[in-house]
């Protein structure tokens, strides 16, 4: 129990330190024209501002995550043993990801699921980029205003449909006796139905579609601000179309590309519905494991540990990619 208390006290300690520092600064460097925060905003309004910001950052952001961090360093216990002598700090939950506590062997199932999740998410990101870049370029540079509005509408309206319905509709479309297979068989392209769901086609299609907008809008924003004369100048100097994209458009849109790719990758790796409904029977998405720990075996500690493993690995990969493509983190959130 003490470790949990300590963690909840941590934000208060940080706040107190900053408060003291500001008091110290106003003592050391006295500026007679400077009015304090409460003098400027009044006690009531100033108090409300501080209260709202504090509620947002402490209760909605900091504390839940801190609680999960602490939880992930505790053993799995039944409620009546919590706070008892067995409730000690441990890294057992993290170890269990590598070594299965049941048979003391390498935990290939979970490690494999993580690797698959990462690779599949990267593939979804690439696929999404390949689909969205031409679309975004068309919308930002070549399309007429009217066509662009229509296209935007066609992109956005389907997102009003909820995620589960969307996933199941795709499932119907891709099923062994679904529309696509029937058409293919009717056309004589294939004799037997193709197992789109079993070979994970459904998974990739579903995930790509789910995060299409997340990719398109950063790309669109980035490409839109590119001066069209730059494209024409490159063309006038003799560049073929692919070189114009490689040398002029993509370097310019790099922050937008990084932003879109980061978001799609993070969201794909952390998504739950699409992999569960559209993945093949042998496909194990990492978030499904986390979900099962929380809601099937009520093992919050291990679930939290797994969630943090996923988060850490994803952040590490994104940072590495930003490094490779020489983009600063600040540029991607512009």
């Amino acid at each position: 129990m003490s470790s949990r208390l300590l963690v909840f006290a941590l934000p208060l300690v940080v706040i107190a330190i900053f408060w003291l520092m500001s008091i110290l600064e106003s003592r050391v460097r006295r500026d007679p024209t400077h009015k304090s925060y409460f003098e400027r905003n009044g006690l009531l309004l100033g108090g409300i501002f501080i209260g709202l910001v504090a509620f947002w950052t402490l209760f909605l952001v900091t504390l839940p995550y801190l609680y999960m961090v602490v939880e992930s360093f505790h053993p799995t216990l039944t409620p009546n043993k919590r706070g008892g002598p067995d409730d000690v700090l441990t890294i057992a939950q993290y170890q269990s990801f590598f070594i299965n506590p049941v048979d003391d062997a390498l935990n290939t199932t979970h490690i494999g699921a993580l690797i698959f999740t990462i690779i599949a998410s990267a593939a979804v990101t690439l696929l999404n980029f390949a689909i969205c870049y031409p679309l975004a370029f068309y919308m930002a540079q070549t399309g007429t205003a009217q066509k662009v509005r229509l296209l935007m509408l066609a992109l956005i309206v389907p997102y009003w449909v909820n995620e589960i319905l969307r996933a199941f509709s795709l499932r119907l479309l891709l099923a062994s006796r679904g529309l696509i297979n029937q058409t293919l068989m009717w056309l004589g392209i294939t004799d037997a139905p193709i197992d789109f769901l079993g070979n994970n086609t459904g998974l990739y299609v579903g995930l790509s579609y789910a995060y299409l907008l997340v990719m398109i809008f950063p790309l669109y924003n980035a490409v839109q601000s590119l001066d069209r004369n730059q494209i024409e100048a490159a063309r006038d100097l003799g560049a073929p179309w692919w070189r114009i994209h490689k040398d002029v458009v993509i370097p310019y849109a790099k922050p937008g590309i990084a932003s879109g790719c980061t978001m799609v990758f993070m969201l794909s790796a952390g998504s739950l519905a699409a992999p569960q409904f559209l993945g093949g029977p042998r496909t194990l998405w990492f978030t499904s494991i986390v979900y099962d720990f929380f809601f099937q075996s009520f093992n919050w500690a291990r679930g939290a540990a797994y969630a943090f493993i996923l988060l850490t690995v994803c952040i590490f990969i994104v940072m590495a990619m930003l490094r490779v493509f020489k983009i600063s983190l600040g540029e991607t959130i512009k």
Binding site: N229, E232, A233, A234, R235, D236, L237, G238, A239, R243
Partner: protein, 360 residues
């Protein structure tokens, strides 16, 4: 290498709007040719057609005798300098200059040699590693010229490239552009709405209005012998006296205007009864009386002293405003309110058919 450019009956339409109407002209090899006109007159459209970004609706564009129909901008022997320069902000100066060579697959050492050579030409030696954003306006301008010249175009197209610069730099760049043209010896096609630029730099000028080429001639001819009311009113200052032709004889004509009968040359061969406008430039007027149909009685409204000369604003009969410019030497400047008789040499007046005038 340099090439001539021919337009034959080039018409360009955007929907119902005719941007360029049957333009026919030949720009000679090695010439500095300007298109001069107010914004929206179609001059940029012509330039984009020559560079290949637009295909003419009708007519033919030939460069060096070769029909350019279906040839894209990346395949034409032209290079375009954009109004906003359109330098690549993420590339260094040298990479900007040699971009055209890079897409042609020319090896790096060769490119760097060429970059040094061009940086020398534009008087920015050793600045190839800088970023474009580190350069001043005039330097960017010169880099844009070097980037276009690097691909060794036969024709260089310039779309109001000086409009972003301040006045001093603009005047300096005029001389520099002219010097560069002499040095590289290729055809320059220059687009501008600034008559000073067109007059000082060009071998010949095409004056355009509403998609129509009004006159093609060298600067002095355009200024002294305009062939339409638009050219007379757009290039330089001019006093316009509309009226009807009352007499016409070998090369001269008299026009009955609201302030009396005035005469001038008759380049378009107008006949008695034609609606006409007589143009007299402010600097052609001088105090004192002259020939009977080249003399106007006026009253001085105000005088604007400009240093090397003075602008005198006069009021003629029936309140007609008239502008006169006098130099410092030999002429006394009238006082405001003083009545004044002014006159001009009849061969310095020009009688042109009534037509559209340039907006002030």
């Amino acid at each position: 290498m340099s090439a001539d450019v021919e337009l034959e009956n080039v018409t360009i339409r955007f929907g119902d709007f005719t941007a360029v109407d049957r333009a026919t002209l030949k720009i000679n090899n090695g010439e500095f040719f300007s298109f001069l006109g107010p914004s929206g007159c179609g001059k940029t459209t012509i330039l984009r057609t020559v560079s290949g970004f637009l295909e003419p609706t009708e007519g033919t564009v030939r460069i060096g005798g070769v029909d350019m129909a279906g040839t894209g901008p990346n395949k034409r022997p032209t290079a375009l300098i954009f109004q906003n320069l359109a330098l690549f902000p993420l590339m260094s100066v040298a990479d900007n200059i040699t971009y055209g060579l890079r897409v042609r697959g020319i090896p790096k050492t060769e490119r760097m040699r060429k970059a040094d050579e061009l940086l020398e030409l534009i008087a920015l030696p050793g600045q190839g590693r800088k970023l474009v954003s580190e350069l001043s306006g005039g330097q960017k301008q010169r880099v844009a010229i070097a980037r276009a010249l690097a691909v060794q175009p036969e024709v260089l197209l310039l779309d109001e490239p000086l409009s972003a610069l301040d006045l001093k730099l603009r005047q300096h760049m005029r001389n520099e552009l002219r010097a560069i043209q002499h040095q590289v010896g290729i055809t320059f096609i220059y687009i501008t709405h600034d008559q000073g630029e067109a007059l000082t730099m060009s071998d010949r000028i095409a004056v355009m209005s509403d998609g129509v080429i009004e006159q093609i001639a060298d600067g002095q001819t355009i200024y002294d012998h305009p062939n339409s009311a638009f050219v007379a009113s757009f290039v330089g200052e001019n006093n316009a006296f509309p009226g009807k032709v009352v007499s016409a004889s070998d090369g001269s004509a008299a026009v009955e205007t609201s302030i009396g009968s005035l005469s001038g040359t008759n380049p378009r061969g107008l006949k008695v009864g034609d609606a006409a406008i007589l143009f007299v430039r402010p600097e052609s007027l001088r105090p004192g009386s002259g020939a009977q149909d080249a003399t106007i009685r006026t009253e001085t409204l105000s005088v604007a002293f400009e240093g090397n000369m003075s602008h005198i604003f006069l009021r003629g009969p029936s309140n007609k405003p008239i502008a006169m410019t006098v130099g410092r030497v030999g002429t006394s400047i009238p006082e405001e309110g003083q009545s004044l008789t002014v006159s001009y040499e009849p061969n310095l007046g020009t009688v042109l058919p009534e037509g559209k005038m340039a907006r002030e």
